[in-house]
Symmetry: C2
Subunit: 162 residues, 2 copies
């Protein structure tokens, strides 16, 4: 199996999935809004209070994340109040939990203060910590030096590889 | 076991590991520089050619990522040339592979074009795709609705939880 790293100058990265993912979630306030959504926040006031970036920024992030299909905007009405909207993670949004968890895992180890991390995520069934792991489809744990990058179906090459 | 989500208004998120991680890697160009480092890039010209954001931005990212301890700046010298520097991932930088992989996994599914993802990562030993998985310390696969958030050692509460 040929390792395409040797040919990487021939690769176009214009349709890179990492870049595309980052274009959708790639602001600090978007990530913090998503964090709160995973923590259970649904209403604007909850997001605004917990993501301390100012109400206009929170409103902008909720609008963008809804437009990108990560949140559903659902009407609700308290007695005697006008109709308002709450925000719920869609399947596309929930699928970001490994990204959020990978950031938290890394931050817990490499960026936490001396007192340790503020929260931990545990498996409800067995109460042990939940982390992300790099695993192959045969179930092996994979170290970073065991990852090989290959051409996928959408690779665009700008020159013909040798 | 008490689920602290009920008390989340008492939590201070000032030392949130997700936010801290994002402050270090949270620009699109930083993520793309890290992508190229994982692909094997070491020299400024390689990063600049592959991360098409302009040389000043690439230089700024390399400087920041080095200052944050994700890259080591190592001198090298070609015959007859002045000493130059290349950039190598440190242990702290290599530890970001799950973050990059989680972004790629998500982008492959939710943001790739109709032609499919441009690259895939496989396990060198068995040639099957490598992904991130949410796993607990007992080795169970964990679904997003099975994750419980609890207080960690560094949690700062602003009011006393009930």
């Amino acid at each position: 199996m040929r390792d395409l790293l040797q040919d990487r100058d021939a690769w176009s990265m214009e349709n890179c999935s990492i870049a595309r993912a980052f274009e959708i979630i790639g602001t600090r306030s978007a990530v913090l809004v998503l964090r709160e959504a995973f923590f259970g926040a649904r209403r604007f006031d909850d997001f605004a209070r917990r993501v301390a970036v100012g109400e206009p920024a929170v409103a902008a992030r909720l609008k963008e994340l809804t437009a990108d299909g990560l949140l559903d905007r659902v009407p609700y009405q308290e007695p005697g109040q006008r109709t308002r909207y709450e925000y719920r993670l869609t399947e596309k949004g929930r699928a970001l939990l490994p990204v959020i968890t990978a950031l938290r895992d890394w931050g817990d180890i490499w960026a936490a203060g001396p007192e340790g991390p503020p929260v931990r995520a545990v498996h409800r069934d067995c109460a042990t910590p939940v982390r992300v792991r790099l695993v192959c489809d045969n179930g092996h744990d994979v170290r970073s030096d065991e990852v090989e990058i290959q051409a996928g179906p959408g690779l665009i090459t700008t020159t013909r590889p040798a």
